[in-house]
């Protein structure tokens, strides 16, 4: 086994921010372990994304030519990845805890007979014990667990988005580009992907938003989200929700923030009518400034916020919106 392999994700001719975060993790490992760092891209028309990756300080960018490499079906991805791993025999395979990584990593690990750990926030090599140390949130974010590996098998890891800073261009270290061809049997593909639909609105993407206004169970119904949306418009913010509005169908489920939803880290996170459960905070605790608006002075969200207003959102938000509007003029 040698080297570290990152499974990158191309998006609109670029690589995703999570892919850049993986490069940061990968670079850290490759330098202490003195191993090469490969970045793999699967998909059609990845040339521009590949160039971007090559400039971020990896040793090699691999692009795949081969059957089905344009069709991002999870089973195809796993079949391709398993082949790449057999050809290159990397010691660590890094993926993001994304739609792709969540689905692909467990299957890949099972196929390779590899060790696997999902949703890590830290992966380092401990020089004294000569062990790889994995850290991951458990119990819905109530605790963190730290593990060492017991054996020296291949390791498949997914990293939680936002656990590292994205890698910056490194002019001194330009990665080689290599295109590889993969063969696998179509009969390995058991399911058929009929349709992919993105329902997210035209608004600002949660991951990219500088400001987020999030509403929780305290909003009490879909009408109440009118005020949340109004505040978001004044602030140029994205709207997020907790599990409660999603379960109650007050708002689209795709806006959920937390352990099983979006991982966000805006400059300003305004939590309205949110109690502060660890499963939710898991997804927003990296925000620069957190503001809590809650009518219960004992709500645990206040312990996790920088600023708080104790009060009913129906009174606080209109006043806040007015104030911000006045400021704009």
């Amino acid at each position: 086994m040698k080297g570290i392999l990152i499974c990158g994700e191309p998006k609109e001719k670029k690589i995703t921010s999570v892919s850049k975060e993986l490069i940061t993790t990968g670079k850290g490992l490759s330098s202490v372990l003195d191993q090469s760092l490969d970045f793999l891209l699967i998909g059609e028309k990845c040339e521009n994304a590949a160039i971007e990756a090559a400039n971020l300080g990896v040793d090699r960018v691999l692009t795949v030519q081969g059957p089905g490499s344009s069709d991002l079906h999870p089973e195809r991805l796993v079949a391709i990845l398993a082949q790449v791993c057999k050809q290159n025999d990397p010691m660590v395979i890094l993926l993001g805890q994304t739609d792709m990584g969540r689905d692909v990593a467990p299957r890949l690990a099972a196929k390779l007979g590899a060790n696997v750990c999902m949703d890590c926030v830290d992966l380092v090599f401990d020089e004294s014990s000569k062990e790889l140390i994995l850290t991951k949130p458990v119990y819905g974010g109530n605790a963190m667990a730290q593990w060492a590996l017991k054996n020296h098998r291949q390791l498949v890891v997914t990293m939680r988005p936002r656990s590292e800073k994205p890698a910056e261009p490194d002019p001194s270290h330009k990665g080689r580009m290599e295109s590889i061809s993969i063969e696998f049997e179509e009969t390995q593909i058991r399911t058929q992907l009929m349709e992919t639909t993105c329902t997210e609105g035209k608004g600002i993407k949660l991951e990219e938003a500088k400001v987020i206004v999030a509403g929780g169970g305290g909003i009490g119904g879909s009408e109440g989200f009118g005020l949340i949306q109004e505040l978001a418009v004044v602030l140029g913010a994205a709207v997020g929700i907790t599990r409660v509005p999603s379960d109650e169908n007050w708002m689209p489920k795709s806006l959920e923030i937390g352990q099983t939803g979006h991982m966000v880290s805006p400059n300003l996170y305004i939590a309205v009518g949110i109690s502060g459960a660890p499963q939710h905070l898991s997804g927003c605790s990296h925000s620069k400034i957190i503001v809590a608006i809650n009518k219960d002075p004992e709500a645990s969200i206040f312990g996790m916020a920088d600023f708080g207003i104790v009060g009913d959102y129906r009174e606080v938000l209109p006043a806040l919106i007015e104030k911000l509007k006045a400021l704009k003029e």
Partner: protein, 266 residues
């Protein structure tokens, strides 16, 4: 449609953070006093999905769990919701199993059951939050897999599965038998009915051990586990909160806006 649902009993994930405790050695989670363990919420939703399919297509629902004696509580809950049979997989050699070992035990148990059209798991167990067992199980059994199912039905000759993605959904078609992992977007599970609770309480839950299902001793239990726990710790999320209380909304929000401007985020 014969459906197998794999469930795990866990500590209640919705206890307030203040009740969450770690052992002094930092190696164990101490169960909260007076709060009984529950069926993993995603597994409860997997049972709900099984029931919805059964209501339309008929068939039999079998619950499988690996756990200690007390885990039959979770099985009883699933039976009270309307599942038909429950089996407890229990053996001293199973204790301390990691995800791969858990998947191995379930694989062997399912191979005993032979006839089934669908296997359901939760998307992840809300204790270690790995999300591995369902997928590994599918690989072991060489069955089609769709993860993060929000709904599923058997239409014509295939399973049609709506899969949740972060910004929307996908539709997959899978031949039968298939493995699905169920996500919370499925919606709330039904409550057990009074009648359900009575019938469940009367049902025997057979126990299958290692010998009966034929697990490989080298693949299960704490010795086979691939990771060694170094420690558990509580993450530091606390911030010093500047809390504005007891002021008129106009004054409170004015002050907040000032503070946010000073902090440079407005």
């Amino acid at each position: 449609m014969n459906i197998i649902v794999c469930i795990k009993q866990i500590q209640d994930p919705e206890i307030p953070a203040s009740k969450f405790r770690l052992g002094a050695d930092g190696k164990k989670v101490i169960p909260p006093e007076g709060i009984p363990p529950v069926i993993n919420p995603y597994d409860e939703q997997a049972v709900e999905l099984a029931l919805r399919i059964k209501e339309k297509r008929g068939g039999q629902i079998t619950i499988l769990t690996i756990g200690e004696e007390g885990a039959s509580r979770a099985v009883k809950h699933a039976l009270a919701m309307g599942a038909d049979e429950g089996i407890l997989l229990q053996d001293l050699t199973f204790e301390g199993s990691d995800s791969l070992a858990t998947a191995h035990i379930l694989t062997r148990a399912i191979q005993k059951i032979e006839e089934f059209d669908l296997i359901l798991c939760g998307r992840q167990a809300a204790d270690w939050d790995e999300g591995l067992v369902g997928s590994i199980l599918a690989e072991n059994l060489e069955l089609p897999l769709v993860t993060l199912a929000e709904s599923a039905d058997f239409i014509e000759d295939r399973w049609r599965v709506k899969r949740v993605i972060l910004d929307g959904y996908q539709i997959f078609a899978a031949p039968s038998p298939a493995v699905l992992t169920v996500s919370h977007e499925l919606g709330p599970p039904r409550l057990p009915s009074g009648w359900g609770i009575i019938t469940a309480s009367k049902k025997e839950i057979p126990v299958w051990d290692a010998k009966f299902i034929g697990t490989e001793p080298t693949q299960i239990g704490a010795d086979a586990s691939r990771k060694k726990l170094i420690k558990l710790f509580i993450p530091q999320r606390e911030r010093k909160c500047d809390k504005i209380e007891g002021e008129k909304p106009e004054d409170a929000t004015s002050r907040l806006v000032e503070k946010l401007r000073t902090a440079g985020v407005l």
